[in-house]
Amino acid sequence: MTDPLPLRRISPRGGRCILPGAWLGATALLCLPTLLHAQSVCLPAPRLLTTMPMGGQAGTEIEVKVTGQSLDGSEQLIFSDPSIIATPKLSDDGTVVADTFLVRIAKDCAAGVYDARIMAGLGISSARAFSVSDVPEVTQTGPSTSLETALEVPIGSIVNATLVDRSVNFYAFDAKQNQRIIVDCVAKGIDSKMNPVLVVADAGGSDLIVERRGGIIDFTAPQDGRYYVKVHDLTFKGGPHYFFRLALTEATADAVVTRLPATKSVNSFSWPPPGVDDVPAADESELAAVDDGAMGITLPCDVGGSFFPAADVDTYQFTAKKGETWWVEVASERLGRPTDPSVVVQRVINGGKVVDVAELADIPSPVKRSSNGYSYDGPPYNAGSSDALGKFEINEDGTYRIRVTDLFGGTRNDPANRYRMIVRKAAPDFALVGWALHMGLRNGDRNALSKPIALRGGAVMPLEIVVVRRDGFDGEIELFFDNLPEGVTATGLKIAAGKTRGIMLVSAAANAPRGLQMADLFGRATIDGQDVVRHCHWASMKWPVTNAKSEIPDPRLVDQIPVSVGGIEQAGLSIEAAEDKVWQVEAGGKLTIPLRLIRRGDFSGKSMALQTFGAAFERNARFDLSLTEDQSQVTLDLARLKTPQGDHTIAFYGGAVAKYARGDAKPKDIVDIYVSKPISIHVVPAEATK
């Protein structure tokens, strides 16, 4: 392990230097690209980028090498399951081998994908998927980029490997005639940047079957002999970030294929609804046809089905009474399928004809998602889904039908494209997901860096929480954190009634000690008079994408929400109200809050523009805060904001360019988000002060 490097504060340079204007201008011009390039986005954060291997067999101990960013001072490799334990590898002389751990996977550890993280000097790192299997695993140590250098792979094993740029990896296996071999490869599903292409080739290397859409190859050997599996990226990219796990599995002719486990997409957070069984009550194949091929159901229902064959239309028929209201929820994309379910409810009228009652569309993203434009205009996370959720009302007694189709399914012939449909009476509820706040930090900025909650002393980190509301629930949701490390507090800026977004501020005291906790983030609401608490899922970018124009950000859900304090650095700037109190103001009045700046480093520019968090304050005009003064103030015009009376919590946030250096390194301009400590405001009726 290397020793943690302390933050070096940069002092303003003294003295004067007089240079001819022309020379200065020329120098400035020459340096301009360098200067622009020199300004990077977001302060360093620990990021675990690769582990090699990316998994292992339960009941074994393996050596795992890690790479990443800002992992100086790595102490622990931590997994999201306690049955996977890592210890630093020691050399023969007892010293720690850098970036290398011995990982013990308990025999009873279930096969699946877990999160691995490093506790580094700056705190906890971002997560990297780590798989556990129940078959022997091989870690590829050298390239196998030709038929001649193909790596022999025993059937029934998994290979952990990376790709070489502009190359194809070759793997050899022998098969008997009519032997069924399933070739599976997981890459995106374990955080790799690779879009896998699988090819099964004959003994001469000629392609027999190709799979490029992330599926398996179900190969039955035409004759005894040697075969090859070729693996490459769709665009032949390679390098350590293009890793994959390749499995060759023998299967009987009638066996149902199980894929290698993978992580979950962000939008899967809203599935399943609370209280739903793991498997549906019925499958479409078990239902009896009643009319025109429609399958009979009674409401409520929970049915599983498949968008198969191509252009499949599944029609369910039922009777309903006037005045009833039913909610329909279909999951398919959230089950990981590349589908776009569509639901149309129709009433059967005379002669078997039907009239439309309702057409249920996608689950919209709770907040406007960033477009692919010049700069961010929303978070780069998709919490919406192409799955369907909505209600229909029965205006007269009769026979009705629900038609379920896949708007992507016209030519798809994949029985694995399954769906699940639940029709229920209203069961108001909500599902939450959050992520570290992203925002454009400079002109045209589209950074999408993975952001672990690795706090510096005195820092306030904003988290963005969004909600999918179910079955008409419209109330406000309070946000709160449990199990925070010592010296860390969290303040939830609630999701207001009818709104879909809230902010959670996680603050570390200036002197907060180094620490780590797997925290729990919750939302609490009152539904039908009952106190309902829901766990908030957590999402993160898989990679520190510095420019989403050149690399598509790829987030996923992670298992846990680790919150840490590094304890070796402090935030360059803290902003807080001059007094720690509840600020009282009458409705429609103006509130001036004195602010205090605690600067622990230098900044480029004399001021920063601040915006306001807080449900009733987000429309507060952007204002400038001096970065050279220790005191400042902000005035809030509640009349303009139309802030209702009651208790509010707000914070101010904006981007500032710090001059940051670690150790003896040359200082760099780094723009990052700075957030004030939460400020409590109590708005009283205008008459209250008269």
């Binding site: 980029t145 502009r166 190359s167 194809v168 879009n195 292409v197 000629s206 392609d207 079957i209 190709v210 490029r212 859409r213 992330g214 490459h232 769709l234 665009t235 032949f236 990219k237 252009a311 239309v313 590349p338 776009d340 569509s342 149309v344 057409e359 477009s371 692919n372 434009g373 038609r403 189709t405 708007l407 992507f408 399914g409 016209g410 030519t411 798809r412 989403a548 124009k549 050149s550 598509i552 950000p553």
Partner: protein, 748 residues
């Protein structure tokens, strides 16, 4: 104050003007009595054909499609007579006609050259057509007389025939009207030969055969109808074809017998292997393959070689290269790389898997989802507008060029704007959602009734497939699937025909219909029986592309020598010999690499990737070779975008370009290997010939080559070079010479 002279002047000008105005007011409502007796003149059936015959409504003259001239616009070729009537009679305050003095009408004065006219004299005074216009104006320029019949059909007499070289024949154009009457409209019909090198036709319909034997057609047009005269021009030589291998031979040789064109001999084995390897796999045979084929005594070794090539990934690579260019797999932005690679791979993998052609087209037409999950969606990234979609689909998969019908009735076909927009209606329910990649949408079926708006009349039109009803499409059904169903119907008159003609051209250089994507009644095939048989074979095989290629390449017709006999050199359309083709840019680059043992490095692709396996056009930019030899930029669905003609730049590139020199001198290349091998000079030469031509050198070639190989060389300092260096440079020169031969540069 008015003077006497003023008064006189006023009298002289004003009075006639007042009189003329009065007469005009009197005359306008009541047509003047016709000065020339005869039938009533119909604007539709008489005047418009005259204007068309005179070229007034041609694209370069007053046709609206070409912008008209000086504000006077007519519909193209008179397809919209009512609009033309408005333009001619009403527009410009009626200035184009002068009922008071019809011969002074601007229409006649311009056409006859009485006043300056940019188009010159179009109608001679006192000609029949001039009098028709005159009579019409004299009759008060009516639109149509009462009971004016509609044109029902046009026929050409005779419809078929045989013309000896130099022989002429007068064609007659006979119109049939809705009242059952017929009329000889030869003088107001337009005639056009489809191949003026084979036959010419005069304005009056006299067709004259020239010296080239084969099939030629003359199109006659009257109003919006066309008819075709098909003629055979025989060579008249005795024909003794080789025994047929399959139905293709029977029909090709029957046609040759009819025309009296004797076919060349069947080519030798080496020529066949090279030809079929280039045409199926886009590569020259390896010397190992060439040796093995030469040594094989099996009677069916040609069929075996065809099957082997068809099974190979090289076949999929080569034809994917052909299709992806036509499907516009074009890189306009660096971020296109993923979708372009995915789309190319999708085409290639389906060809490798043997996906039936109708299924391939179906998956493309009705593609939904994201590019990664469903790569044919990438086509909708390149072809975004519904109009472009139907134009591309019609041209590429149906061989029908519909572009004209967007704005006006198709000049050579029966397609109207209604046909155009009803085809566009199939693409009217395509939903799009943006993805994370700029410019790339995901595609979904947007529920609803499919329809498009006819831009001419503003009326909504439901989907219909080139005049065929496909029934009512419910809102839940993706209309594109119904279009795909219609295409795959065995009775579809376009789908299979278009493909077999396209593939026929791939192998024979000339389509049975030329251009290959312009199938219409007025552009008949040179061998309709063969085209029909190929179409049936393809449909019966389940749209199996490999089966089609297998049938074509196993035919003796395909295996004929490219060397003409004493009679068939003049034949360029009946396949009496193999028509040599210059190697395509990518194929030639691969062939040079294969002969020299060098490898061309392409960005983002593994070393060793063949040029025919390049996924998109982006590689043209970095490769002068590919540009010079005409690799297409994938901007068009027309195969003509690929430049196959020769040029000085190509010759200079092959002779002098640095990349050719570096390939000859490649460190790991063939020449360096040959130098290191303990083989005789004759064996080295033999290998080079096998690699380049798939054959061993003849005795004289070997002798010449040996003499050259053994020649001593001197360096720049005038001193003799050592033996190894001499051999290297001599072998490089010999290889350079082989690469610059026509035998290497052409598939023959």
């Amino acid at each position: 104050m008015t003077t006497v002279s003023d008064h006189n002047r006023i009298q002289r000008w004003l009075l006639p003007a007042i009189l003329a105005l009065g007469l005009l007011l009197i005359q306008r409502p009541a047509p003047c009595v016709a000065q020339t007796p005869g039938d009533p003149v119909s604007f539709v059936n008489d005047v418009v054909p005259v204007l068309t015959k005179a070229g007034c409504n041609a694209g370069v003259c007053h046709a609206k499609a070409g912008g008209g001239q000086n504000g006077f616009q007519l519909s193209l070729l008179g397809f919209e007579p009512l609009e033309d009537y408005q333009h001619l009679v009403r527009e410009g305050r009626g200035r184009r006609l002068f009922p008071l003095d019809p011969p002074r009408s601007l229409l006649l004065a311009k056409a006859a050259g009485d006043v300056p006219h940019g188009g010159g004299v179009r109608i001679e005074k006192d000609s029949k057509n001039y009098n028709t216009l005159l009579r019409w104006i004299q009759a008060g320029s009516p639109y149509r007389p009462a009971a004016d019949p509609d044109l029902v059909a046009i026929a050409i007499e005779p419809a078929t025939g045989t013309l000896l070289p130099g022989e002429s024949l007068n064609l007659r154009s006979i119109a049939t009207f809705s009242d059952g009457s017929t009329r000889d409209v030869t003088k107001t019909s337009l005639f056009e030969s489809n191949d003026s090198a084979m036959a010419t036709v005069t304005e009056s319909g006299q067709v004259t055969a020239l010296d080239l034997p084969g099939k030629v057609s003359v199109m006659v047009r009257y109003q919006d109808r066309v008819a075709v005269y098909n003629a055979s021009i025989p060579l008249g030589q005795p024909v003794t074809p080789p025994p047929p291998n399959n139905f293709i031979d029977e029909l090709v040789f029957a046609n040759l017998k009819q025309l009296g064109i004797p076919p060349s001999q069947v080519c030798d084995d080496a020529t066949f292997l090279r030809r079929v390897s280039l045409d199926i796999a886009g590569r020259v045979p390896t010397e190992v393959e060439a040796r093995a084929f030469a040594a094989d005594d099996a009677a069916d070794k040609r069929a075996t070689a065809i099957d082997r090539l068809l099974r190979s990934p090289d076949y999929a690579d080569y034809f994917a290269n052909k299709w992806t260019a036509l499907l516009k797999n074009r890189r306009d932005d660096a971020s296109d790389i993923t979708s372009n690679f995915a789309f190319h791979a999708w085409v290639r993998d389906n060809l490798l898997a043997g996906t039936a052609y109708d299924q391939l087209v179906r998956q493309l037409l009705a593609a939904t989802g994201t590019v990664i999950a469903n790569p044919p969606v990438a086509w909708y990234k390149r072809v975004k507008e519904p109009k472009q979609q139907i134009e591309d689909v019609a041209q590429l998969f149906l061989g029908v060029r519909l572009q004209c019908a967007q704005c006006h009735h198709h000049p050579f076909e029966r397609w109207s704007q209604e046909d155009y927009y009803s085809l566009a209606a199939f693409f009217s329910r395509i939903g799009r959602k943006p993805t994370d990649t700029a410019g790339e949408d995901l595609i979904f079926h947007q529920r609803g009734m499919a329809q498009a708006v006819n831009m001419k009349n503003g009326q909504p039109v439901p989907p219909a497939a080139l005049g065929d009803s496909v029934g009512e499409i419910p809102p839940d059904e993706d209309p594109r699937l119904r279009l795909a169903d219609w295409m795959a119907n065995p009775d579809n008159p376009f789908f299979a025909k278009s493909l077999v003609n396209r593939y026929w051209k791939h192998f024979f250089r000339r389509g049975l219909i030329e251009p290959e994507d312009d199938i219409r009644d007025t552009n008949p095939p040179t061998n309709p029986e063969l085209l029909g048989a190929l179409e049936r074979h393809f449909v019966d095989s389940g749209f199996d592309l490999r089966a089609l290629i297998r049938a074509i390449t196993n035919s003796k017709a395909y295996q004929l020598s490219a060397i003409p006999n004493e009679h068939n050199l003049v034949d360029s359309q009946n396949y009496s010999r193999f028509y040599p083709k210059r190697l395509q840019a990518e194929v030639m680059l691969d062939a040079i690499d294969q002969v020299t043992g060098a490898q061309t490095s392409f960005a983002n692709l593994p070393i060793g990737t063949r040029a025919v396996a390049l996924p998109d056009n982006s590689y043209n930019k970095a490769s002068p070779f590919l540009r010079v030899f005409g690799r297409p930029e994938a901007t068009s669905v027309c195969e003509c975008e690929r430049v196959q003609s020769g040029s000085l730049a190509q010759s200079l590139h092959l002779m002098n370009a640095g990349d050719i020199k570096s390939k000859l001198a490649a460190g790991g290349g063939r020449i360096n290997r040959l130098i290191g091998e303990k083989t005789s000079a004759a064996e080295k030469i033999n290998e080079l010939y096998l690699a380049a031509f798939a054959r061993a050198p003849s005795e004289s070639e070997l002798a010449t080559a040996l003499q050259y190989i053994n020649e001593p060389r001197t360096g720049a300092d005038g001193k003799p070079l050592d033996e190894t260096r001499t051999l290297r440079e001599n072998l490089q020169d010999l290889t350079w010479a082989l690469l610059n031969t026509k035998e290497f540069l052409f598939n023959h």
